[in-house]
C-alpha cells in the first residue's frame, strides 16, 4: 500500500506533474538536436535544481531522460540525422519512409512503439530489478567481449550491398575508437603527438559528420528536385498495425532492458541489436529492410526506450550506473543528500517506487507530446532544400562544437562528413562505422582484461569460457549470428522454421 502511494506521488501533486511534463517536452528537443545530449542536459540541471526539493529535481530529470531517448528518432526520420547514437538504427528505415511522404505515419508509429518499449522497461524494473542486477554484475570481461563480438556481426545486417565494403566500414569504426590515450595503460595510440587526440575521436562528432553533413552535401545534388508532399492525415497508427507489431516490439523491448541493465552498455547497442534481431526474424517484410520497413523502425525504437528502465535497474538496486545518464543521476542523488548505493532500497524504499511512478508518468507524456505537433514537424521535410541545407549544416557545426566546447570536434565532423559523402557515393555503408565506434572500447578493453586476468594463458581462457554457462550461451549466440548470414540459413532453413 505504501509503495502505491509513493508510486502515485508525482501523479497527484500538480507541481511534480507539471515538472515531469516540462522535462519530457524539453527532453524531446534535447534528444532531437544532435550535439545536445541527455547526459549534458541532466548535468546542467544538477546545478540548476540544486536548491530544489529532491523530488522536484528528479521529476524534471526523469522527464528529460525519457523524452530525450525518444526525441532522437525525430531528426533521424525527418532528416536522416540521428539526434543521438541510439537513433542510428531508426534512420535506416525511418528516413526512407519520410522520403515516401510517410513521415507523419513513421513518427506516429515510432512514438507508440517507444512508449510500449518504455512500459516494458518500467515493468521489468518494477518486478524483477534485484534479480536482473545480480545477473548483470556476474558478466565477466570475457562475456563483455562476447557481447562486443556479437554486436560486430551486425555489420552483416547494416551493409546493403557488398559485405567487403561493410566490413571495411566496421573495422574503420573499431580503429577510430582506439585513437587516443589507451584507458588501461595510458599508452598513446594514433595520436601523432597531438594532445587534442588524447581523448580520442568523439562518436557524436563522427555521427553528425557521417549522417548529417554527408546527407546535406548529397542533397545539394537535388536542389531542383520537387518537394515530397507529406501525407499527414494518418498519424496515430491504426489499432490493427499496433496489434500486428506488438510481438516484435515486446521482443525488442526485452533485448533493450537486458542490454540497458548491463553496466557499460546502453540504448545505442540495444537499438542496433534489436534491429538486427528484427531483420533476422521477420519472415516477409512488406517492404525490404533499409527501404522503409516498419519492422526496422519499430525494433530500435522499442529497444532504446526499454533500455531506460533497464539502466535504472542496477542504479536503484546497487548504486551502479547502467549507462552514462544514470551515472549523472547518481551524482544528483548524492548532492541532494541521498546515498544511492546497495542500501538505497533498504534506507529509502520510497525512492524506488517514486522513480517507477515518475518514469511511468514521463512515458505517458512522451505519448502525448509525441503524437501532437507532428504536422508541424513533418513540414520540415517540405521546406525548400536550399533553405534546409545551410540550416542543417550550421546546426551540425554548433552541435559538434557543443559536445566538448571545442573546435577540434568541428574538424572531425567535417572530415567524417567528407568521408561519408564519398562512402555513400561509392556504396560503402556508413552505419557500420558508428557501430564499430560504439563497440570499439567494449571489445578492446575486455579482450585485454580477459587475457590479463589469465596472465596471457590462452588455454585457461578457453577452459573458463567453456565451463561458464553464461559464456557458452553468448558463444552460441555468436555462432548462430554468423550461421544465419550464410546462404544455407537464408534460403533454406529460415523459411521452413518461421513458416510454422
Amino acid at each position: 500500500m505504501d509503495s502505491l502511494s509513493y508510486f502515485a506521488l508525482s501523479w497527484m501533486s500538480p507541481e511534480l506533474l507539471a515538472l515531469t511534463a516540462l522535462g519530457t517536452f524539453l527532453g524531446i528537443y534535447v534528444g532531437a538536436i544532435p550535439g545536445l545530449s541527455v547526459t549534458m542536459a541532466v548535468s546542467i540541471l544538477i546545478s540548476f535544481t540544486f536548491s530544489w526539493d529532491v523530488n522536484h529535481a528528479l521529476c524534471l530529470m526523469v522527464g528529460i531522460f525519457m523524452g530525450g531517448v525518444y526525441g532522437g528518432s525525430r531528426t533521424a526520420i525527418l532528416l536522416n540525422i540521428p539526434g543521438a547514437p541510439s537513433a542510428i538504427a531508426t534512420a535506416l528505415d525511418g528516413y526512407p519512409l519520410a522520403k515516401q511522404g510517410l513521415a507523419g505515419e513513421a513518427i506516429g508509429l515510432s512514438t507508440v512503439m517507444s512508449v510500449i518499449g518504455g512500459f516494458v522497461g518500467i515493468l521489468v524494473l518494477a518486478l524483477a530489478a534485484p534479480t536482473i542486477s545480480e545477473f548483470a554484475i556476474t558478466f565477466q570481461p570475457r562475456d563483455y567481449l562476447m557481447l562486443a563480438i556479437l554486436g560486430i556481426t551486425l555489420v552483416g545486417s547494416l551493409s546493403t550491398g557488398s559485405l567487403a565494403k561493410g566490413m571495411f566500414a566496421g573495422a574503420l569504426g573499431v580503429l577510430v575508437g582506439t585513437v587516443g590515450l589507451d584507458p588501461l595503460t595510458a599508452e598513446e595510440r594514433f595520436t601523432f603527438g597531438v594532445i587534442e587526440l588524447w581523448d580520442g575521436i568523439n562518436v557524436i562528432a563522427a555521427m553528425i559528420g557521417l549522417f548529417g553533413v554527408s546527407e546535406a552535401l548529397h542533397q545539394l545534388h537535388h536542389l531542383d528536385k520537387t518537394i515530397i508532399k507529406q501525407k499527414i492525415n494518418r498519424i496515430i497508427p491504426p489499432w490493427a498495425d499496433v496489434r500486428r507489431y506488438l510481438p516484435l516490439s515486446i521482443q525488442s523491448s526485452f533485448i533493450g532492458v537486458i542490454i540497458g541493465a548491463l553496466p557499460g552498455t546502453g540504448g545505442d547497442i540495444a537499438a542496433l541489436m534489436a534491429y538486427d534481431q528484427a531483420k533476422r526474424s521477420t519472415k516477409n517484410p512488406k517492404v525490404p529492410f533499409g527501404k522503409g520497413a516498419k519492422e526496422g523502425l519499430i525494433a530500435p525504437e522499442a529497444a532504446n526506450n526499454a533500455a531506460v528502465g533497464g539502466a535504472y535497474i542496477p542504479m536503484l538496486t546497487l548504486g551502479i550506473p547502467g549507462d552514462a545518464v544514470t551515472a549523472v543521476f547518481i551524482g544528483a542523488l548524492f548532492i541532494h543528500g541521498l546515498n544511492p548505493g546497495p542500501l538505497l532500497l533498504v534506507e529509502q524504499p520510497h525512492m524506488f517506487w517514486f522513480t517507477v511512478g515518475n518514469l511511468t508518468l514521463a512515458n505517458i507524456f512522451v505519448l502525448i507530446f509525441g503524437l501532437t505537433g507532428i504536422r508541424i514537424f513533418s513540414k520540415i521535410v517540405e521546406c525548400p532544400k536550399a533553405v534546409m541545407i545551410p540550416l542543417i549544416l550550421l546546426l551540425s557545426i554548433v552541435g559538434a562544437y557543443a559536445i566538448n566546447n571545442s573546435v577540434v570536434d568541428v574538424w572531425w565532423m567535417l572530415a567524417f562528413g567528407v568521408l561519408g559523402y564519398f562512402m555513400r557515393l561509392y556504396n560503402y555503408p556508413v552505419g557500420p562505422v558508428i557501430l564499430g565506434l560504439i563497440l570499439s572500447k567494449l571489445m578492446d578493453e575486455n579482450w585485454r582484461r580477459a587475457i590479463l586476468s589469465e596472465r596471457g594463458d590462452m588455454g585457461s581462457f578457453f577452459a573458463n569460457l567453456f565451463t561458464s554457462p553464461l559464456s557458452c550461451v553468448l558463444l552460441a549466440a555468436i555462432l548462430f549470428a554468423f550461421f544465419s548470414q550464410t546462404p544455407i540459413w537464408q534460403r533454406w532453413l529460415k523459411p521452413k522454421l518461421l513458416s510454422r
Binding site: V42, S43, F50, L184, I320, P321, A324, A327, F334
Partner: protein, 329 residues
C-alpha cells in the same frame, strides 16, 4: 596627443574600476572531468553557494580529455582576470613526471582546495583473507593468484600498490579498469579480488555487505568505517607517505590580481563551509579541507612530491622528479 592620453587614463580608470567590483560578468568554470564524475559532482554542489557570495553566475563547462590536461591548458590560455576558473582533481600534480604536460598546479594559483579522499583497500566477500596481514600472507603463499584492479599507471590504485610494494614484495595479477566505479562493479561480480579505491566510492558497498574492507590507507582509522584498521598497523613504514589521497580544488591562472583571488577564495570558502556541502562530503567519505593561500600551496607540494617519487621508484615515471626540483618526501 591629449586625446590619446585622456583615453588612456579613461581606460585605466575603467579597468581599475572593473577590478574593484569584480565580478562584472558571468564566470566560466572549466571542469576537468566528465558529467557525473566525482569532480563534477563536487564542483556542481559547491558552485551555487559561491555564486551567491559573488553575485554572478558561474557557468560550468566540462572539458574532458588528456587526463585533465586539456582543461588545464585551456584555462592557462585565457586571460588572468579571474573569469575563467579551473575546477580539477589531483591529476595535474603527476603530469610532469609522467610526461603528460609541462604544467601543473605549482604553475597556477590555488583558490581553494576543497576536499580530500582517503584510499581504502577492499576485497570481494569470498576472498580468503580479512586483514592486511592475512592478505600479505595469502599472496605470498599463492603468487599470482590474486587479481588486483587498477585504474592505469599513475592512477590512485597504482600508487597505493606502489606504496605497499615499497615495503613488501607481492606477486599479484593486475587487471586494469577505466575508473574505480567499473572496477568496484567487477569486484562484486568476482572478476577481480582486491581493489584500492576511494573510501567514498566503496563505503556504501561495504556497509551493505557486498564487499569487505581490508585496510584504510591512512595513519588513523576513520569514523565512517570504524572497524577497519589503518594500513600502518601492518606496514608501519608507510607512514612517511601518509596522509595521502585524491583531492578537488579550484584554481586560476598565474598573474590573476590578488584582490580577485581573495574574493574567489572567500566565495568558495563559504561554499565549502555550507551545510549542504559538508553533508555531501561526509556521505561520500571525503574530508573537507577548505584550504587557500599558503596552506593550499603546502598541501599541493606535499602531494606532488609523494606521488612523483612513488611512481619514479616503482619504475613507471617517464622523467625523474629531480628534473623538476621536486624534493623527496
Amino acid at each position: 596627443m591629449k586625446k590619446i592620453i585622456l583615453s588612456a587614463f579613461a581606460g585605466l580608470a575603467l579597468s581599475s574600476a572593473a577590478m574593484a567590483d569584480y565580478p562584472t560578468k558571468d564566470i566560466q568554470g572549466i571542469i576537468q572531468w566528465g558529467a557525473g564524475g566525482s569532480t563534477d559532482t563536487v564542483m556542481r554542489s559547491v558552485s551555487p553557494h559561491a555564486e551567491e557570495v559573488l553575485g554572478t553566475d558561474i557557468i560550468l563547462t566540462n572539458r574532458t580529455g588528456g587526463v585533465g590536461a586539456i582543461a588545464t591548458k585551456y584555462v592557462n590560455a585565457k586571460q588572468a582576470d579571474g573569469y575563467t576558473l579551473l575546477m580539477g582533481a589531483e591529476n595535474p600534480q603527476m603530469y610532469k613526471v609522467l610526461g603528460l604536460a609541462d604544467i601543473d598546479y605549482s604553475d597556477m594559483i590555488p583558490v581553494n582546495v576543497l576536499a580530500r579522499g582517503i584510499p581504502l583497500l577492499v576485497a570481494q566477500n569470498d576472498a580468503p583473507f580479512d586483514t592486511m596481514q592475512e592478505m600479505i600472507d595469502y599472496i605470498k603463499a599463492n603468487p599470482g593468484a590474486v587479481k588486483v584492479g587498477s585504474t592505469g599507471k599513475g592512477g590512485l590504485a597504482s600508487i597505493v600498490m606502489a606504496m605497499i610494494q615499497s615495503e613488501v614484495d607481492l606477486d599479484v595479477t593486475t587487471v586494469p579498469y577505466n575508473g574505480d566505479g567499473p572496477a568496484l562493479t567487477a569486484l562484486q561480480g568476482g572478476a577481480i579480488d582486491v581493489m584500492p579505491a576511494v573510501l567514498g566510492a566503496a563505503v556504501q558497498h561495504v556497509k551493505a555487505g557486498r564487499m569487505k574492507a581490508i585496510a584504510l590507507v591512512d595513519k588513523e582509522s576513520n569514523p565512517v568505517v570504524p572497524d577497519t584498521a589503518p594500513i600502518v598497523d601492518a606496514l608501519p613504514g608507510l607512514s612517511t607517505y601518509l596522509p595521502y589521497g585524491p583531492f578537488f580544488g579550484v584554481f586560476v591562472k598565474q598573474g590573476t590580481p590578488d584582490d580577485v583571488v581573495a574574493k574567489l577564495s572567500e566565495a568558495f570558502s563559504v561554499g565549502a563551509e555550507s551545510e549542504d556541502f559538508q553533508n555531501l562530503m561526509q556521505s561520500r567519505g571525503y574530508g573537507v579541507m577548505n584550504l587557500s593561500g599558503d596552506a593550499a600551496v603546502d598541501f599541493l607540494e606535499n602531494y606532488r612530491s609523494v606521488s612523483s617519487w612513488l611512481v619514479h621508484d616503482a619504475g613507471f615515471a617517464k622523467h625523474s622528479p629531480e628534473e623538476f626540483d621536486i624534493p623527496r618526501p
